[in-house]
């Protein structure tokens, strides 16, 4: 997580098994809204940015429906932690851990995310 006054040149990166993977320019992330990224192995990640500028990444696939839509959910803060609510059946997922807040047996992958020049 980095906070920089000038963000136009910053890139968002996500840590995979074999190192940091560059996704896009940070400016493409609207605070409060997500984007989907296609990973080299065909998996998908959902990237978010909150109003303080922090970025997060979890798996894009909604485990309850199988659709790759978590990037299209609404984000929020629950007890100080960031979450996204699935746009399909509205279950919420913690953006830092991937844990589903409405069903403790369900968790999606979470990624380390950074923005660098």
């Amino acid at each position: 997580m980095t906070l920089a006054p000038e963000t136009t040149d910053l890139k968002v990166q996500l840590r995979l098994e074999d190192g940091w993977f560059t996704v896009c320019d940070l400016r493409l992330l609207i605070p409060g809204r997500g984007v989907a990224a296609l990973l080299p192995d065909g998996r998908q990640a959902a990237l978010f940015r909150d109003r303080a500028g922090r970025t997060y990444g979890i798996d894009n696939r909604d485990p309850f429906t199988g659709a790759a839509v978590l990037s299209r959910g609404l984000t929020g803060t629950h007890q100080g932690r960031p979450f996204v609510a699935s746009p399909l059946l509205k279950q919420r997922f913690d953006l830092l851990s991937g844990q589903c807040l409405d069903d403790e047996t369900v968790r999606v992958a979470a990624y380390d995310v950074r923005s660098t020049a």
Partner: protein, 862 residues
């Protein structure tokens, strides 16, 4: 059935008869007795008081006052459609029409009244009706629909006016012929009658007072064609309803030698036992009570039912007389009288306020010691509930302050809290304020429906429900019950309160609202999925008025929208989207149909005609949406807002233009309304329909606002709903011109948007808000809050500011940039979105899930 079980026979299963059965059951008498009921009507007891509500959509089933379960559980033998014909008091038997003979130990007569039909020539002609039973209403409705355009009601009393309102609602040009010099002669005095006359005439009814009916003129086919009046004139009419008073049905009693009064009514003592035979009781409208009166209201009847049951159970009880308060239930007219309305008590004084311009007349009768004895309210019966309950006591403020209109001098701040505990709040069921408070404090009721169920208050004529709501609130507050009415974990305010804040302070940013007005722990955070779209919707509906940018994808707005609004399309279960262009009123040219067909073919979309009279194209990938819409916009289509909590469709029937029954151009009106309200963001979706006549092919009464054509214009119904909890819409106003209709809908919608909760359809809202339909009518029809000008201005701003969301989006590269599958591979289709063929089209190829249990569809927040 063993012969030593004593038998109670009840003749008549009307409102009072049913109450008697309930009272028997409550006292355990149904277990100890055989109970046989002879019921003349083809259906068990129903709510006659609310009979007229049939014409505003209440079904006969909803009017029913009992169910098979009650009858069965208490082992009651109910014989429908089998009236008692003879009573043999020596042998103690009753014989019914079917030949059934039952022996009784106790006989209870609850035969009610029959409508009095004056003995004028022609009174039995085809087209002459009375107004008492569901069957009467069904017959009137059928006849009016098939062959009448004009109707006349004989009798301008309470029931006559109700019947006249019903005829008008059926689209007939309606006349009222009253022999007395004023309307409602029993309830109101001369001044009140004058105010009432003006109001009724303003509603478009024609009133002939001081006029008798001399003859019903009958045409060649034996049907009514006119009425000859006492002034010699002839009034052409196709239908006549006699409503010239009721007479007790005491024929059965007379025939078996029971004493009846000079002007009818079975004579009973204070125990409701007939004076002639201790084994026979009479209760309800057929009885002549010990105080020498025959009561034509349900509350005294209920009290008699309780008294008779108590007597049978050997409890102490007596019926010595009752209150005659009444409130007219006719649409749009406020008339109420209570207590000693005519000032017959010695030494009493009147306090009168009259304003003939507004048709308001209020009179209070005050006793020698300053106690309120009764009164008459015409044109504004707001205070009825409180005043009636105060009757008999000295009011806490000077009487003149009770009748002066708000705004002139200091209006009386006289809420129900001023009432003493023993004040009767519901006179239909004789429930005191103390009992209602008890329901809240001891029986833990927290809502009006619970209190209704617990105490029965408010389940009769309904005129006390307003006061009931105020009492429940006051009591809850007093007992410190804190209900968190907050919108969500981020805001402690209700949606309505947030609306007021946004409007008053012109706050156009969600973050600003959260940081300044959110709960302390939520400030500075990112909000949640509940308040974000709710606030976005409030800001969007007020956008032109508070100077916010209108487009839902602009700036911060974009981050607040549910995914559907964010992509201006409906998300489907596999992550694809559906596309619904607007087809106003369901009317579409062949050219446009072809365009839709071509687009669907070119993009391989599944097409279906929706339940909303338009066409849905399913299976579009997110990156295809702009391409599809570019073509639709080009062909003249606009967003149908199928994704938004906004106006969906205004359905129409083909109407007067083609249909042989149509009386107005329903298609044109539907298109006008759809174009006027398109794009209007609201707490929940809004649906509408316009039907060309009362046959209602467009199903307008299942809509949030439904319009049905009448010969004289349009009837507006509000609060209808299909969906999970269907509700028929209530009639808000009748026979409106085009301009009146639009103005009322403007006000209604804006008032709803202002005060409803998030995701609260108009149906739920109408049932929830204090005062219900009456209150909404007061506000939007009579402008009781003085806000109609503002509501209209807000709607005017919306209409002027409307722009098509999709047209703007396809012309804005920045917005289009969001419609990509992947931020790092914009044109690569999402491989998860797959389709398989079905019935010559496609359907989603659903992925196998790792998680077995899928929550019930729709159980999550919608």
């Amino acid at each position: 059935m063993s012969t030593d079980t004593p038998t109670i026979v009840l003749v008549g299963h009307g409102m009072v008869g049913q109450r008697f059965l309930e009272a028997l059951a409550e006292r355990g008498l149904t277990a100890a007795h055989r109970v046989v009921v002879l019921c003349e009507e083809p259906r068990p007891a129903y709510d006659r008081v609310q009979l007229t509500s049939y014409f505003s959509g209440t079904t006969p089933e909803e009017l029913s006052m009992t169910d098979g379960e009650f009858i069965e559980r208490h082992g009651i033998e109910l014989h429908l459609g089998d009236p008692a014909e003879t009573i043999d008091r020596q042998a103690r038997t009753v014989t019914a029409r079917s030949g059934l003979t039952v022996s009784y130990d106790t006989l209870v007569l609850a035969t009610g009244s029959y409508p009095f039909v004056p003995p004028v020539p022609g009174k039995d002609a085809t087209g002459c009706f009375v107004y008492r039973t569901i069957e009467d209403l069904l017959a009137i409705e059928e006849y009016a629909g098939a062959r009448a355009t004009t109707g006349a009601v004989v009798g301008g009393g309470l029931l006559g006016l109700e019947a006249a309102g019903a005829l008008k609602g059926l689209g007939l040009a309606t006349h009222i012929v009253e022999f007395a010099p004023r309307l409602m002669p029993v309830q109101v005095d001369e001044g009140g009658g004058a105010a009432l006359l003006r109001t009724i005439e303003d509603m478009g009814l024609t009133v002939h007072t001081g006029t008798g009916t001399q003859e019903i003129v009958v045409g060649e086919e034996g049907a009514v064609t006119a009425m000859r009046l006492s002034d010699g004139s002839e009034l052409p009419t196709d239908l006549v309803v006699f409503s010239a008073g009721v007479r007790p049905r005491d024929q059965l009693a007379r025939a078996c030698g029971l004493a009846v009064g000079e002007r009818g009514g079975i004579m009973v003592d204070e125990r409701c036992r007939t004076v002639s035979d201790p084994r026979v009781f009479a209760i309800g409208e057929c009885a002549l009570a010990a105080d020498g009166r025959v009561y034509g209201l349900v509350a005294p009847g209920y009290e008699m039912a309780e008294t008779a049951a108590a007597t049978l159970a050997a409890d102490e009880a007596a019926f010595t007389g009752a209150d005659l308060s009444t409130k007219l239930k006719l649409l749009g007219v406020d008339v109420a009288s209570f207590g000693d309305a005519h000032g017959t008590t010695a030494d009493c004084l009147d306090v009168v306020y009259a304003d003939s311009r507004s048709g308001t007349y209020k009179k209070l009768v005050i006793g020698r010691d300053g106690e309120l004895l009764g009164g008459i309210l015409v044109g504004d019966a707001e205070a009825y509930g409180t005043l009636r309950a105060l009757t008999g006591s000295v009011p806490p403020v000077a009487p003149e302050r009770l009748v002066l209109p708000a705004g002139s001098g200091a209006p009386a701040e006289l809420g129900p809290s001023a009432l003493p505990d023993e004040a009767v709040v519901c006179s239909c069921h004789n429930v005191t304020k103390g009992t209602i408070r008890g329901a809240v404090t001891e029986h833990r009721c927290t809502t009006v429906p619970q209190v209704k169920k617990c105490t029965r208050a408010g389940t009769g004529c309904g005129s006390c429900v307003k006061v009931l709501g105020q009492l429940v609130d006051a009591e809850l507050e007093a007992s410190g019950v804190e209900v968190d009415k907050g919108l969500c974990g981020c805001f402690a305010q209700t949606r309505e309160e947030l609306y007021e804040i946004v409007l008053a302070l012109r706050i156009s940013s969600y973050q600003q609202l959260l940081d300044r007005y959110g709960r302390r722990e939520a400030r500075g955070g990112d909000g949640c999925e509940i308040c974000k779209p709710a606030v976005a919707s409030v800001i969007a509906s007020l956008a032109p008025a508070i100077g916010a940018d209108g487009h839902v994808l602009d700036g911060e707005q974009a981050a607040l929208q549910d995914t559907n609004d964010h992509f201006l399309a409906n998300l489907q279960r596999n992550g694809s989207y559906s596309v619904v262009p607007r087809i106003p009123g369901g009317e579409i040219t062949p050219e446009k149909l072809i365009v839709i067909g071509e687009i669907a073919r070119d993009f391989g979309l599944y097409t279906k005609i929706t339940g909303g009279q338009r066409i849905d194209m399913f299976g579009a990938r997110v990156e295809q949406l702009p391409l599809i819409w570019a073509r639709l916009v080009d062909a003249g289509f606009e967003s149908g807002h199928a994704y938004g909590k906004a106006l969906r469709t205004v359905k129409s029937c083909v109407g007067q233009t083609w249909c042989r029954y149509g009386v107005q151009d329903s298609v044109r009106m539907a298109i006008d309304l759809e174009l006027r309200y398109r794009g209007l963001r609201s707490p929940h979706k809004l649906k509408s329909a316009v039907s060309g006549c009362a046959r209602e092919c467009a199903e307008a009464r299942s809509k949030d606002f439904g319009v049905i054509a009448t010969a004289g214009g349009w009837n507006l119904y509000v609060g209808g709903n299909g969906g999970a909890t269907p509700r028929h819409a209530d009639l808000l106003a009748q026979d409106l011109t085009d301009a009146e209709l639009v103005r009322l809908i403007d006000r209604f919608l804006m008032f709803y948007i202002r005060t409803a909760d998030r995701l609260e359809r108009t149906s739920v809202w109408l049932e929830r808000i204090p005062g219900g339909l009456d209150h909404v009518r007061d506000v939007v029809v009579h402008d009781s809050l003085g806000i109609c000008g503002e509501l209209e201005a807000l709607m005017a701003a919306h209409v002027a500011g409307y722009r098509d969301e999709w047209a703007e989006t396809v012309n804005d590269p920045e917005k289009l940039a969001r419609f990509v599958s992947f931020v790092n591979a914009p044109d690569t289709p999402d491989p998860v979105v797959g389709f398989v063929p079905e019935r010559d089209q496609i359907k989603p190829d659903l992925p196998l899930l790792a998680i077995g249990t899928r929550p019930l569809e729709g159980s999550a927040q919608r």
